[in-house]
Symmetry: C2
Subunit: 159 residues, 2 copies
């Protein structure tokens, strides 16, 4: 293993693919947009617009939040980005991968999991059976008590 394997690359391999989508949709590829795309590829969890603007804590050049919001909106329209609300507070953005991520979060401890849609097929099926809805947990997560917190519920108050 080289250091490269230990250091998470700042620029994911397909940032270029994303810029191509931008260009082919008739939009310009600017520095600000590239930074936003790179930030989302570099992040290992959904990030806020603010965090992207700060350059992910110095790992990337900083940009104005305004532009970040504008870029995120555009990228979201193009299907390159999606955002999720994991609770109160700012929305969080992540690149939209083909294997789109859905979320399950614990109400009590805040821990959350990004899960492959496949694991949610049973849940989706149950929703379809009960309501006829085609459910998706990409924008709002499934909220509940995680196994750990279910366990401690009732044993003691609030650890």
């Amino acid at each position: 293993m080289t250091t490269a394997a230990l250091t998470r690359p700042l620029v994911a391999p397909d940032v270029e693919a994303a810029t191509t989508v931008l260009r082919e949709a008739g939009h310009r590829v600017t520095a600000a947009r590239r930074i936003v795309i790179e930030a989302l590829y570099a992040a290992d969890a959904p990030v806020t617009a603010e965090e992207v603007a700060e350059g992910l804590g110095g790992r990337l050049p900083r940009t104005d939040v305004t532009s970040v919001y504008r870029s995120l909106e555009l990228l979201e329209q193009l299907g390159l980005v999606s955002h999720v609300h994991l609770g109160h507070g700012p929305g969080r953005y992540a690149r939209a991968s083909r294997e789109r991520r859905e979320y399950v979060i614990c109400d009590r401890c805040g821990a959350y999991e990004e899960v492959d849609p496949g694991r949610l097929d049973g849940v989706r099926e149950a929703v379809r059976a009960a309501f006829g809805y085609e459910a998706s947990f990409t924008h709002f997560p499934i909220v509940g008590l995680c196994p750990d917190c279910v366990g401690s519920e009732g044993r003691h108050a609030h650890p």
Copy 2:
């Protein structure tokens, strides 16, 4: 049937029960708090703090939004009220009934259903099976495409 049966009562029968909870928890029963409670009992769907402050469109006395937020927070702590986020925009509040309501909303047309938890047992079971989480859809709804929108998806673009 008398007119009383046709006119939805502004004050639900157990507003008094709620004030009792307030008092027994050591809080004062004030005009503002009573109005907030009455508003939530009078509303037939979750309402915003703003709407409560406006007196539900004139049906009740108006109050300052600030106080409404403070009252809602207190009532929520006492378990008398809960709030849900049905999409972007302000949170919506409703009285917390023993048969607590959960929500299912359509991503496309915005239609939503308040459902009795019982109807969600299958879904909850599927979530438990897949993740071990004890899910609740009171704070964030289940989001998806409703049967109508599932039907029109793919047939035409955006009606």
